[in-house]
Symmetry: C2
Subunit: 256 residues, 2 copies
């Protein structure tokens, strides 16, 4: 595995606090794999042997029941997933599938649990990462239970606008049928929601979205810092500066 890839993993808040030696131990038995789009990495109910780290591409975390299925989160690099199952050595509650061609690093769960037991700073970092994941899910449930479909879409658009730099026009990062599942609706219903949201100063042109009258859209969306996380899931600077002090309020990442 290339050392550049290892460096990217090292730059994650999770692994930044470890000693070089501990980091070597954890990544020693690890392997990097490239997967094509649409590959199922993990099916819900499977026992989990590895912690996954998405280095490149994108991955969806989903679940199904009774012939229905839904996407719980879409991950972008660099982020880890199924940490919770690894920590508890339990089976997966979600499936994981690549959306596009992806580079994924797989770390031994057993080695990771050992490292936690031996290195307090590392297990603190794990607890912080899990806390961030937990809070991401709290936001997701609030979004789901408190808002209607059109409101969820409106807030999604505002979040995307901010995450992509703040320009009034941007493009949707995923297929619309995928977005529909993330927002908890059917593709048909999302299509209608896009049509309706035209009335609130939004122009849709295929995957291109332009928010022509932001204030009007905001009056519909009523974005809330306690629900919407406008800071990107991994604003991971690669430098070492952040390694020196305790991060205090990363609240994002939904990827277990």
């Amino acid at each position: 595995m290339r050392s550049a890839d290892l460096d990217r993993v090292r730059s994650l808040p999770l692994f930044g606090v470890m000693s070089d030696e501990a980091f070597k131990n954890v990544t020693g038995g690890a392997f990097l794999q490239k997967f094509p789009a649409g590959t199922t990495l993990l099916t819900e109910g499977d026992t989990v042997d590895f912690l996954y780290v998405l280095l490149d591409g994108s991955v969806e975390l989903g679940a199904s029941w009774n012939d229905k299925d839904t996407i719980l989160a879409v991950l972008r690099p660099v982020s880890t997933f199924i940490l919770a199952a690894v920590v508890l050595d339990a089976d997966a509650l979600m499936s994981a599938q690549t959306i596009e061609r992806s580079d994924i690093l797989m770390l031994s769960g057993e080695a990771l649990r050992r490292a936690m037991r031996e290195d307090a700073a590392f297990s603190v970092a794990v607890a912080q990462e899990l806390s961030g994941c937990y809070r991401g899910l709290v936001r997701a449930i609030k979004n789901q239970k408190l808002r209607g479909g059109l409101e969820r879409l409106a807030n999604y658009l505002i979040t995307q606008k901010i995450r992509q730099g703040g320009a009034d026009t941007f493009s949707l990062p995923h297929e619309k049928r995928l977005l529909a599942s993330v927002l908890g609706m059917t593709p048909e219903n999302l299509s209608r929601a896009f049509a309706s949201i035209t009335d609130y100063g939004v122009v849709i042109n295929g995957p291109q979205v332009t928010i022509a009258r932001p204030s009007v859209l905001e009056r519909l969306a009523k974005p809330d810092p306690l629900i919407d996380n406008h800071t990107p899931p991994s604003a991971a600077p690669t430098g070492k500066a952040q390694r020196e002090r305790w991060p205090t309020d990363r609240n994002q990442r939904t990827g277990s």
Copy 2:
């Protein structure tokens, strides 16, 4: 504070692994308080200074947006809540309110974070607790996004039956309007759902529920171990036996 109360806290998986000294440090500045029913302990957005431990009574975790509100979880003793916010020293994403008269222990967040840094075993226990909370929320989202109202009610009843010992008739632990909010519907709609579920061999008599034909109800509910957690949130035995080995698969507790 009575030492019997401290013993109950000590018996939690979270605190069982600590040394006596570390436990004294964490509980040193702690205080136990009795709150009447309906007391708001914490409002979403507040900064969080304490880890809360519910010793007696019951507490609801809720959230609101745009004049709507919903209950995300109902806690019963003994369980901790808002751990994630304490770990990150961040503000609360949920409100907490007593449902009945409750005894609640409040532990200094700062002391807790210090204990994590100094004691690897403890921070591992925190990570495990958080993992359990995370998985509880994953179940909640799956329940919410994949099932309809009647299905959620059916599964709720089956879960209650099992948690209360398995007898065919049991009683609802909360007011129905509260249950409605937990299940993500209006009280009126829940009332109708109770009326409908009669067709599936369930008899409702005020707060008394009897599942007359379990197989019929199960065919409607299709309970799933990857969504429904039929083991109670805190099967905390008070003995020391469990303290000896690593717990391997506690998957419950939604209380942050």
